[in-house]
């Protein structure tokens, strides 16, 4: 991105990371009247996890926090095109998520999930395999035990949604510097004093860590230990075809998510166990397993040609829920990380809650269960189970 401004020497707020979380935080802060906001991105906007994700937005979670964050975020996404006054297209599609399960244990989990979701106003429902097939006729229900469906889940284009936030933030006066790498963060008496980058040092008292897969490293720069790790998850895309599938089809037991984007291409991924690290490589083992799973569950998809595959980083937290937090150790240090594979779909609330926290406004939602302190001295056993 060509910026017609010199690199700043001072800023009120420096956001590290030009993914969906970073741009949402920037836009929310600016909308609330904050000034001198700078976003630093090491490559280009949506280079990291955002631009590599499965482009789905869903509310069908097993933890209350994730359900509420997702529901409120979808309420924003329904109007995002207008609210962000975007001249492109965020490609919002609301045709649901169909979650299929293969055994009794999963069925029990579905029962609990739907009960929780309904109590929070999320219109999900439990389905028999036959009912699931009515929604996605090419679904092979041979190994399907039961399913759940939420009609208001859907799709959004991660690139253009990031672009929409970016342009809206730009109009609010936010400055963006791409291809700029943060190398250190300066503190004095446990207070943030600056950010060092390969383009220069910015004097500031507020740093927001929205570095996605690299959030732990940013934390280490100020001595804050964030209990997250990154892990490669792979994904592929096919050639585009005419519309044949409305909802996203996912299964935790079968390890697959697969949707047709409004553009016509099918996106599909799975979460094979990989060692923690920063590799985003593509493997043939992923391809083999993906092809086996999808041709079995959604047979006609087998006729589509794969045109591209890639990987991206999930930033995993101990309870698979985001860390949207200030720091009790370093004043002026904030973080939005550990999204565990669903940072894209929660971004509207990430931006809102973090900007409220930074500007000392009352939070729109309870945030104690999102803060870093929730892990203090605890061995986390309860975690969000609905993650592919």
């Amino acid at each position: 991105m060509k910026m017609n401004k010199p690199f700043p020497k001072k800023a009120d707020y420096v956001i590290i990371g030009g993914g969906i979380s970073g741009v949402s935080i920037a836009w929310n802060l600016a909308k609330k009247g904050a000034k001198n906001i700078v976003v630093i991105e090491q490559k280009f906007l949506s280079w990291g996890a955002t631009g590599r994700c499965g482009a789905g937005i869903r509310q069908q979670w097993s933890s209350e926090a994730n359900c509420i964050l997702a529901k409120k975020s979808i309420e924003f996404f329904e109007k995002a095109q207008e609210l962000l006054e975007y001249d492109g297209n965020v490609e919002f599609k609301q045709e649901g998520y169909l979650i299929v399960g293969s055994n009794e244990a999963e069925d029990k989990q579905f029962e609990d999930n739907v009960k929780l979701q309904n109590s929070l106003g999320i219109p999900s429902k439990k389905l028999t395999p036959q009912e699931a097939k009515e929604i996605v006729p090419h679904l092979n229900i041979e190994d399907v035990y039961s399913a759940t469906f939420c009609p208001t889940d859907g799709h959004l284009n991660p690139f253009t949604t990031t672009d929409a936030y970016y342009k809206a933030a730009l109009r609010e006066g936010v400055d963006f510097f791409t291809y700029t790498k943060v190398t250190d963060i300066l503190t004095k008496n446990n207070e943030i004093t600056g950010v060092v980058t390969d383009k220069g040092t910015i004097e500031t008292n507020h740093v927001i860590n929205a570095a996605g897969g690299f959030a732990k490293e940013i934390g280490e720069m100020v001595g804050v230990d964030i209990p997250v790790y990154s892990q490669n998850r792979e994904i592929l895309v096919t050639e585009p075809i005419e519309k044949i599938q409305g909802p996203m089809v996912i299964s935790f037991s079968k390890n697959i998510y697969c949707q047709q984007t409004p553009h016509g291409a099918f996106l599909m991924g799975r979460g094979d166990e990989r060692p923690p690290g920063y590799s985003m490589e593509s493997t043939h083992t992923f391809l083999d397993e993906m092809a086996k799973t999808v041709t079995s569950l959604l047979p006609p998809i087998g006729d589509l040609r794969v045109i591209r595959q890639w990987g991206g980083l999930y930033n995993m937290s101990p309870d698979h829920q985001p860390i949207i937090s200030d720091s009790t150790l370093v004043k002026g240090f904030y973080m939005a990380c550990g999204f565990s594979g669903h940072g894209f779909m929660l971004a509207p609330m990430t931006g809102l809650l973090l900007s409220e926290m930074i500007l000392n406004e009352p939070p729109s939602l309870p945030v104690e269960n999102l803060k870093l302190t929730r892990f203090d001295g605890k061995d986390i056993k309860e975690y969000e189970k609905s993650v592919v």
């Binding site: 991105m1 060509k2 006729d303 040609r305 591209r308």
Partner: protein
Amino acid sequence: MNPKDVIICRCSDVTLQDLYDLFEQGYDTFEELKRVKRVGMGPCQANTCGKMVQWEIAKYYGKPLEEVEFHNMRPFTLGVKLKSIKEAADDEDE
């Protein structure tokens, strides 16, 4: 010729004018153009338009071609059907 009538990316139907519009807004790398306009992301994976996009960036921003980074090429080189991959994987398993 009117840039509106010059098709750069045949897969994603992107014209030269589309690129000019994005250049004017400050998008100056191949990777950014891909993401906001899908240029080079179709079935041919920029095998047709890749060099042209690189040239247009160079011309517009007045840079030598070698200073304009080519897009990040990812597998596959050629589209392959999922069922063919499955069959090959099954063969290997036997």
